[in-house]
Symmetry: C2
Subunit: 339 residues, 2 copies
């Protein structure tokens, strides 16, 4: 009832292979490590015996002696946000190529849950990729003292980071809206704990000053569809013709909310978002958005993490910046003149 009588699930050990092959256990071990420092034919014989006996090296025991598990943790802010799926794919590809396994941790937009889950995973992983972490800088630094850490979508001094070119993205968005005749942009904020949210807003601010556009900010709101719908209330009190949202999901919610109020996008209001998730292409109107190279982000972060695990120095200093591009679709249009 209480303690599990689980069958120990007998596995063939390195000793049985050694015995059968007529060599020492250490030789078997060497035959299975790379580079295999064993005579070619001895290695072959060992391999055959191992095969026949169904021997599989125990990652647990190996980890206990080497203190390396060949597992990396990938923490994402919210598994329900499609923005992470491509990142995950990129990270997994990079990890698999290097013979590493990825474990995914869903922070559920909570710094507390993120921290708890990560603490629990910490002892069994060789390194950590933090994608859009909601934890504080100091907590992240604390983790980075225990294990190699690479941060994605965020810049923290002294911790290696991979970010997208948010300033360029915000600027391209502003330019696009300006070209369409808009002279006032409203930024719809995502979570305050999001570093990307801060930089996106500040970059927009700067771009608008330079382009001589008026700009203001509302929020913060949840970085999802409901958040966007909520934002409509505030937007209604302070009308505008052009909006930049923290991410695609919020733009989708915003457009829905506006629609309910009878305001049409893009006829009445132009909307631009960030990220370029797949659904942005299937909603009506299709979203104009600042596209991030999601797969590449995940891959780049993981690759750098793996070099750190192999002893390379952390790339501190400037974060690695990945380019963005503006994808113009149907949620932006020329500002209506007159009324």
């Amino acid at each position: 009832m209480s303690e599990p009588p689980r069958p120990p699930n007998k596995r063939t050990t390195i000793y049985q292979v050694a015995l059968e092959a007529g060599v020492a256990p250490s030789t078997v071990s060497r035959a299975f490590s790379r580079p295999s420092r064993v005579n070619a034919d001895t290695a072959e014989r060992i391999r055959q015996v191992a095969e026949r006996l169904g021997y599989r090296t125990s990652p647990l025991a190996r980890a206990l002696t080497t203190s390396r598990t060949r597992i990396v943790a990938l923490v994402i802010a919210d598994i329900s946000n499609p923005v992470f799926t491509e990142m995950v794919r990129g990270a997994q590809e990079a990890a698999n190529d290097a013979d590493y396994t990825t474990v995914l941790i869903d922070a559920q937009e909570s710094d507390r849950l993120e921290r708890t889950a990560l603490e629990r995973a910490l002892p069994s992983v060789d390194g950590i990729v933090l994608a859009s972490s909601r934890m504080s800088d100091s907590t992240i630094r604390w983790f980075s003292k225990q294990r190699p850490v690479v941060v994605l979508n965020r810049a923290i001094p002294d911790v290696p980071c991979v970010v997208t070119d948010n300033p360029q993205g915000a600027r391209r968005a502003a330019e696009h809206l300006a070209e369409l005749g808009h002279d006032h942009i409203t930024y719809v904020s995502g979570p305050e704990a999001s570093w990307a949210n801060g930089i996106r807003w500040r970059s927009l601010l700067e771009a608008c000053i330079e382009l001589k556009l008026k700009v203001r900010r509302i929020g913060p709101f949840s970085p999802n569809i409901e958040g966007g719908e909520t934002a409509v209330e505030e937007l209604r009190r302070r009308p505008t013709t052009a909006v930049l949202t923290y991410n695609d999901l919020m733009a989708i919610g915003l457009i829905r909310g506006l629609d309910r109020l009878g305001a049409k996008v893009p006829a009445d209001i132009s909307v631009i978002a960030f990220d370029n998730i797949v659904v942005g292409e299937i909603v009506t109107p299709r979203l104009t958005t600042v596209a991030a190279p999601l797969f590449a982000e995940g891959a780049a972060a993981t690759k750098h993490l793996l070099t750190m695990i192999d002893g390379a120095p952390a790339r501190t200093g400037q974060p690695m910046v990945l380019p963005v591009r503006l994808v113009v679709r149907d949620s932006t249009a020329r500002r209506r003149t007159g009324r």
Copy 2:
């Protein structure tokens, strides 16, 4: 360059705690296991010392002796399919409540990748939940001989399974369409490797016979938006007024494709899907769909897995069936009479 000079990352060991607390290592071990078979005050003293020294029990070493890692693997068919996010949440909640960690494996709709990833994870997990597995029955049985396995969205004899009430769902869908005046339903197939796809089709077939509706099937197509778009080609060659798709994503793609061809949903064609993912509510038209209790599925499967890990007998025999309900939204309408 080749071998990692990783700092061994000194952790406090059970010996240091034992020394400091003036007890034997085994006593420390006992103090940290439940139920703690140690004098209450001794236990308290040990706990304090441990706390002070920052002692954390090593899951690796523990796993090596107990052969239990307190990790369960959750394999999902495709991380980009939102249908899995709630299942994952449900599974994680159940696991966390029992002090287990979940590792997520994305099979990327490939039985080969699924198998490879799972084989690699196998030695380090106590059990496996297979959500919408694309592997063959025999492969799944093979895994279930190595470790406790619970299968989600699929029924396999002699392996414990959690499924939704697909027959009831298909029937409700057919009834709904019949009530709207449709007398012919086209089923748009998902992947052949999907068990759910098979049962959904067969159930529809039965329901239609009973309700005296005509029915046919097209496909198979990929279980995603592109798959739905592709299906339009075939649908065009064999027109219909009512469609049931394997899942929501395909319905979304199908509706887009129809739209491009000038056919309107629901005016010209009614569409019903399965699953009830969140985006089904935000697309235009909003999807009518057979809603599955996604969170509950994940939780139920994981809970049963945990009992098996604790030595309870596998619930073979009949699969656990969870109820579905038809959510009527805007993608279905009364059949146009005349032309």
